[in-house]
Symmetry: C2
Subunit: 352 residues, 2 copies
């Protein structure tokens, strides 16, 4: 059997990745779709599981605790300083796996493409996705492609699912924050959201503000090695630090007290937030995490975080307190105290 | 701690499921999104893993072979005779898991909603999804919601991922068809695609044609119990029987010979196809499967299929043959022979 011969029969011309566009036939299940899957997706993501070529990927798993997570990505614009929807879809899902203290193993990817979308742009973001997955050491093992008519989508939407394994003894969860616990963040807040907003508003600042989009499982591996009993891990994406801490306070039935002066914030992000009328506490991050642990573990955890490049600017930013109202409060730079509520309404639509 | 009190603080008014619509704040990550997730999605899908309330679901898995699969659903219209996008998203993904011979365990669901979509319709399809999952015995354990602006989506897109476990000794795969093998189908072809097309074209026939959308893992469990060494299982969705068999022929490096007279087809579907200018061999199915097994196993497999309500009309429809061109051919009703090629171009856009 000569596969090349069969390929010639199937696809008389190569996909035009320079000037072609997505058309409805690429979602039909027929020859055009098979060609796009082969020449674009399978070529970029190549790995033994994906190459099985079935509608599902089969793998051998050891006994133990596993996690699964799903995220849709509709970020606009598709390309932004520091990343694109492809790398973001990998990082975001790797991070949701990592926030269980888990080691990510496999990703799946579902694409919803709009008719007319340039294949060159699709290839660029698929290559970026493949690169991000390789860097993170995870394989994209199965996927799906659908096409909707012009005006029924917006270029590309990606939904990624991640599967990972949790090391024994590690069980961070949103309901495990206890009064007295320390609250840590891994670095500066608000970079991703501000990078997106300044691209959208066509603003340029003296310093380029780039998304912090990054895969955090390496950082987490170091953290759980140092403090296996870390109580909570969360990535403050949509809604930012403020909303994520309110969620945890709600789940755990506790209050929180933050110290504004201790929350890491880039000067240019602070300035951009002022210009854009945004509160950096509510702005999305895509390469940062929040950790909550027992007070006596906090120095060890902070040290482990700072030992990793993605945690170099980690800081202890507050304390979990008893509070039947489950309020998140903050001591301001001026010595006052204010309630940091959930995000109400929409601050930044389509930020991820 | 009184959760009810906290809930009152969070959500002063209930989501208006009768007259409300999706707005951008439902995708913001803030309070409105938390409310929608709680009152709509979590209420419908309730199960212990989802109720963990984290960004990922953690579960204990035994050692063994697992499968994962992902599918996006963009079917138009959202509601059709015999189902809707919600039940379809469950059935389609359960079936992709089942086609590995596996027992589906968990689903995840990512929603991309268009601003302005009626919450009443969303509730209807989420309830249908929950119902389909309960019937199939699988839990929707984690999910995600995004909202795009009016005109940047089309009501609702759903991406579901399924995880399952494969019984020892079972390993159907697209490259395992061998010359001499028997080709079976579990029932009539083309019902789903014709149901969608007649809804779209606003056609009514004397007999109502309903989608065959159904979860096939129960049928598969009986099949692999009878014939653990079934070589190939595939569900002929987009592109229909013809395209799916071409894919398998291509993967296995074989040809196939079908007998038209043996392929089950409802008379009303045949009539509708003629009216709509469709070839039923290329029309999508959402509750049917193709099985390929050794000739000596085919009687046993057929018996097991017919013993299940979803396989009552199962039939042997052809034979795998040696063919270096990997052609799928068919003996027509009139005694001739024709090549059944891959679907070219788009026959039925957004059929699933």
């Amino acid at each position: 059997m000569d596969p090349a011969m069969t390929d010639r029969r199937l696809f008389t011309r190569k996909l035009d990745l320079a000037r072609g566009t997505v058309d409805m036939s690429h979602g039909s299940g027929g020859k055009a779709m098979a060609q796009m899957v082969r020449e674009l997706f399978a070529a970029a993501f190549a790995n033994p599981l994906l190459d099985q070529g079935n509608d599902q990927a089969a793998f051998d798993a050891p006994a133990g605790r596993m996690v699964v997570t799903t995220d849709g990505f509709v970020v606009s614009p598709l390309f932004f300083p520091g990343g694109d929807i492809g790398s973001l879809a990998v990082h975001g899902t790797v991070n949701d796996v990592a926030m269980a203290g888990a080691v990510p193993l496999y990703l799946t990817a579902g694409f919803i493409l709009e008719e007319g979308f340039p294949l060159a742009d699709l290839k660029r973001l698929v290559d970026s996705m493949a690169h991000a997955a390789r860097e993170a050491g995870v394989s994209i093992v199965t996927g799906d492609t659908k096409v909707v008519e012009r005006g029924k989508g917006d270029g590309v939407f990606i939904t990624t699912t991640g599967i990972g394994v949790v090391p024994p003894g590690v069980a961070p969860s949103g309901e495990r924050a206890r009064p007295g616990d320390a609250i840590l963040v891994s670095g500066t807040m608000g970079d991703h959201g501000v990078a997106i907003m300044s691209t959208r508003e066509n603003l340029s600042f003296e310093t380029d503000i780039r998304s912090d989009s990054a895969a955090l499982h390496g950082l987490v591996a170091g953290m759980v090695a140092a403090v296996p009993d870390v109580h909570v891990l969360r990535d403050p994406t949509r809604g930012g630090l403020a909303t994520t801490l309110n969620e945890v306070a709600h789940q755990s039935g506790v209050g929180m007290l933050l110290r504004e002066a201790d929350i890491p914030l880039k000067a240019e992000v602070a300035a951009a937030c002022e210009l854009l009328g945004l509160d950096p506490l509510y702005v999305a991050n895509e390469g940062k995490l929040i950790a909550i642990c027992a007070a006596e573990d906090s120095a060890r955890l902070l040290e482990a975080m700072r030992a990793h490049p993605l945690g170099a600017e980690a800081a202890v930013v507050g304390t979990v307190v008893e509070d039947s109202h489950r309020f998140v409060q903050m001591e301001t730079r001026f010595g006052g105290k204010r309630i940091v509520d959930w995000l109400s309404g929409e601050q930044l639509p389509r930020i991820c």
